[in-house]
């Protein structure tokens, strides 16, 4: 690929990303009343999307081979327990991550 072709390729990726981010705001501008259905989606979608993002993070975990997803399971349970107990975002995240690193580096 020449430099010009590389620039065009990257530009297409920039454009594609911007389209996915700007499109809803272009279709439903701030000045106009957003349709009730879209307002409803705006309220119920985030909860589902956070569930999707959790699964997305775990998409490459293999249950049948390697460590069978056990380190992930243990670390996530720790995150949940820490968060229910203290409800301090940074503590829950740091605790779970350190636990996971120890598990994959030392135990498994």
């Amino acid at each position: 690929m020449t430099l010009t072709q590389q620039i065009i390729t990257v530009a297409m990726v920039v454009l594609g990303t911007a389209v996915t981010r700007f499109l809803p705001f272009l279709i439903f501008p701030a000045g106009k009343q957003t349709p009730k259905y879209v307002q409803y989606l705006g309220k119920v979608l985030p909860a589902a999307v956070f569930g999707l993002l959790v699964i997305y993070c775990l998409k490459d975990v293999s249950i049948l081979t390697g460590s069978h997803g056990i380190p992930e399971l243990i670390a996530i349970l720790l995150v949940i327990m820490l968060h229910v107990w203290k409800r301090q975002m940074l503590l829950s995240i740091a605790g779970g991550t350190v636990c996971y690193m120890l598990l994959v580096q030392v135990v498994f």
Partner: protein, 266 residues
């Protein structure tokens, strides 16, 4: 001017603690990305400029392969739309929250990656902190972390020998926490459970590389079918509830800002 700089400082210091986990995650992923480009034969200018202009993690890794393959701009565009389609959901969710923030709105939309969206959607921004600037700083800090990580990886990538195996879990942990924050705030968990269950089913059915679009479509269809029960049942008011319910929201905000100050408050 005095009050303006004070207001900006307050928005920045409120935003910063929320972004600390993202700093860890983005530096790890960003450096990994920079190294990946480095070993694929690209100079540090590539990860540096691509991390600023694209600012969407997974597609940037894919772009490396595109640059190594045959020139096909239309395919690059279509692929980007598919991988980043989830941003459409973020936009629909942020239509109201980005209202009235002035010219910053353009940048807020441009920089709306998974992490910026999640923080800006769930954070309980205190009354006396400017909402628009808070979201602006969250986005800007995330953008900076990603950019600096990718650039450093591109420059020094081959010299790093620290055992970081497993550090990528910081992103998983963050999304689990964000999922829980949403869970603890909402009265009806239908949408949260649907998101988990549908995504998991689609992952099993379509595999890791192809499950996002079917999962999004299925979530959209099921939530549309459940519109009547959810609207009357009060699940849709989960977010309005959050705004009205100051007690619970305030609790969480204090916790986060305290832990952000490195425990000196405790």
């Amino acid at each position: 001017m005095q009050t303006r700089s004070k207001m900006l400082k307050k928005a920045f210091t409120t935003a910063f603690p929320y972004t600390i986990p993202i700093f860890a995650g983005f530096w790890f992923l960003g450096i990994t990305y920079g190294i990946y480009m480095n070993v694929s034969g690209f100079s540090f200018w590539y990860p540096m400029l691509m991390s600023i202009t694209i600012f969407a993690g997974s597609i940037e890794f894919v772009t490396v392969n595109m640059l190594l393959g045959a020139f096909n701009p239309l395919q690059a565009f279509a692929m980007t739309l598919m991988i980043n389609a989830r941003h459409l959901f973020y936009g629909i969710s942020m239509l109201d929250k980005f209202r009235g923030v002035g010219r910053k709105k353009f940048y807020l939309i441009f920089g709306m990656c998974d992490e910026s969206f999640s923080i800006n959607y769930t954070a309980d921004i205190p009354e006396d902190v400017d909402r628009g600037w808070f979201m602006f700083f969250v986005t800007l800090l995330n953008h900076f972390y990603w950019f600096s990580g990718a650039t450093l990886g591109g420059i020094f990538g081959s010299l790093i020998h620290f055992n970081t195996e497993g550090l990528e879990f910081v992103m998983t942990a963050m999304f689990v926490v964000i999922f829980m924050e949403q869970w603890l705030k909402e009265k009806n968990h239908t949408s949260s459970l649907l998101g988990l269950a549908i995504s998991l089913l689609c992952l099993i059915a379509f595999g890791a590389d192809n499950f996002i679009i079917p999962a999004m479509l299925a979530i959209l269809v099921v939530l549309t079918m459940l519109r009547r029960p959810l609207e009357t049942g009060g699940a849709a008011s989960g977010n309005a509830e959050k705004d009205a319910d100051g007690g619970d929201a305030g609790q969480c905000r204090i916790d986060i800002s305290e832990s952000g100050r490195g425990g000196e408050a405790q």
